[in-house]
């Protein structure tokens, strides 16, 4: 087995992930998307990040 085979399997996995996402997720609308650059946009940063503190436990 060569690295090419592994690479193809990883690529297939990524294509499958995107396909699942396109089927399951809310439709995309580029006209409601935020501007390209956050700095200076006037919009608060809202993206998920691993360092964001979690909600308090119930």
């Amino acid at each position: 087995m060569r690295r090419a085979h592994v690479g193809w399997l990883v690529a297939l996995g990524m294509v499958g992930l995107i396909a699942l996402d396109r089927v399951q997720s809310a439709p995309l609308n580029p006209y409601t998307a935020p501007p390209m650059i956050a700095l200076g946009s006037g919009l608060a940063a809202t993206g998920g990040h691993c360092a964001a503190p979690p909600p308090p436990a119930r």
């Binding site: 998307a33 006037g42 993206g47 979690p54």
Partner: protein, 374 residues
């Protein structure tokens, strides 16, 4: 051997290289047209991270391993240099940017310290951290490719339980800011660099050209990421999100998780991955690493032979990497690189705990059969 002739070992030609570059540019453009210009830009930055990490053969696990085993401080010094450059831009930007930009600021806590220690051990077992696992998988490394899905499952599970773990004991979020914060951060980085030089073997202060290239490229991309995405470079949130979406796709219910049912995270699960910053950079890193591996004809290399117990160790380590990185509020990227560069105290604590864990992980690796046989 027929297998050897089936895949040419020579580098791809100019025409095929140009074609692939055009295809990659078309993919980025397609994402921008479908999901908006920011998504396309973040994917392009992610590709840049992958190109830089694989292109300069730079990472986080290897330099720590060489510091511990060979007293070679050069890779660690390059990491500190990159973090320092990012801090010089990020801390003033965060001070001036208001709510448009946010840092990688997380609380220090019991689970956070334990998670960082365990992450450090596991990343030495699979020789891949957060970014390293993505790069390894993209470049056709079988260990990285096997570890990646389990890393994602672990990340999902760790986030699922994160609020419970954090409730065991956490300090308030502590973050340095402004000019004073930058001065303390740079002094801290200089102090660690001095300690590494003192402990390191003679000559390890001389950084190879590729380390300079990697440090400068990663720093430039990380600053660009903050400006474009509004948040620092991170890895593990996106991986957990991929599994959360898969769970929902098969009818799973995430309402039992405080984390995944929180409005912001539930909205991310419902929205497309093409709108999630960390998913886009993660996909870009995999793609960028694959591009470099293909460019160098690295895909023709054979996959190393490992015993069965080694694959079991890779799967377990992948799960542990994902789970522990959520408890630790980030991996080497989200906590160490971006945390320190944006002034978070948890980044420093993460570094100490993960480095101690790495010392343990390095000693576990041979016992688990993870040194490849010829």
């Amino acid at each position: 051997m027929t297998q050897a002739t089936a895949i040419p070992a020579s580098a791809p030609g100019t025409l095929s290289r140009a074609s692939v570059l055009l295809l990659v540019a078309a993919l980025v453009l397609a994402v921008a047209l479908m999901a908006g210009p920011r998504s396309g830009a973040v994917l392009a930055i992610g590709l840049g991270f992958g190109l830089a990490l694989e292109g300069f053969r730079f990472g986080f696990t290897g330099p720590w391993r060489r510091m511990i085993l060979e007293r070679d401080a050069s890779g660690l010094l390059a990491q500190l240099l990159a973090i320092g450059i990012v801090a010089c831009a990020a801390l003033p930007l965060l001070a001036a940017g208001g709510a448009e930009l946010k840092g990688a600021h997380a609380p220090i806590g019991l689970a956070m310290v334990g998670g960082a220690f365990v992450f450090g051990a596991a990343m030495q077992i699979v020789l891949g951290c957060g970014s390293g696992t993505l790069v390894n998988a993209g470049s056709g490394n079988a260990v990285g490719a096997v570890a990646l899905p389990f890393f994602a499952i672990g990340s999902f599970a760790g986030a699922y339980h994160l609020s419970w773990w954090t409730a065991l004991g956490s300090l308030p979020v502590m973050a340095l800011s402004g000019g004073g914060g930058l001065a303390i951060t740079l002094a801290g980085l200089a102090g660690v660099a001095a300690l590494a030089l003192w402990l390191g073997r003679s000559g390890s202060h001389r950084l190879p050209a590729r380390y300079w290239g990697a440090a400068l490229a990663l720093a430039a991309l990380a600053i660009l990421h903050l400006v474009v995405a509004g948040q620092p470079w991170g890895v593990v949130y996106g991986l957990g999100l991929w599994v959360a979406k898969a769970v929902v796709a098969v009818g799973g219910d995430l309402s039992g998780s405080v984390f995944w049912s929180a409005p912001a995270n539930a909205a991310q699960v419902e929205a497309s991955l093409l709108l999630d910053v960390t998913s886009l950079t993660d996909l870009g890193i995999i793609g960028g690493a694959a591009l470099v591996a293909w460019w160098r004809a690295g895909f023709a290399s054979p996959v190393g032979v490992l015993p069965a117990r080694a694959w079991v160790a890779v799967i377990v380590a992948g799960l542990v990497l994902g789970y522990s990185s959520r408890l630790a509020f980030g991996c080497n990227i989200g906590a160490f690189f971006s945390g320190i560069a944006t002034g978070s105290a948890h980044g420093w604590v993460w570094f100490v705990a993960a480095f101690a864990g790495s010392w343990v992980g390095i000693r576990l690796r041979p016992a688990l059969g993870l040194e490849a046989r010829q």
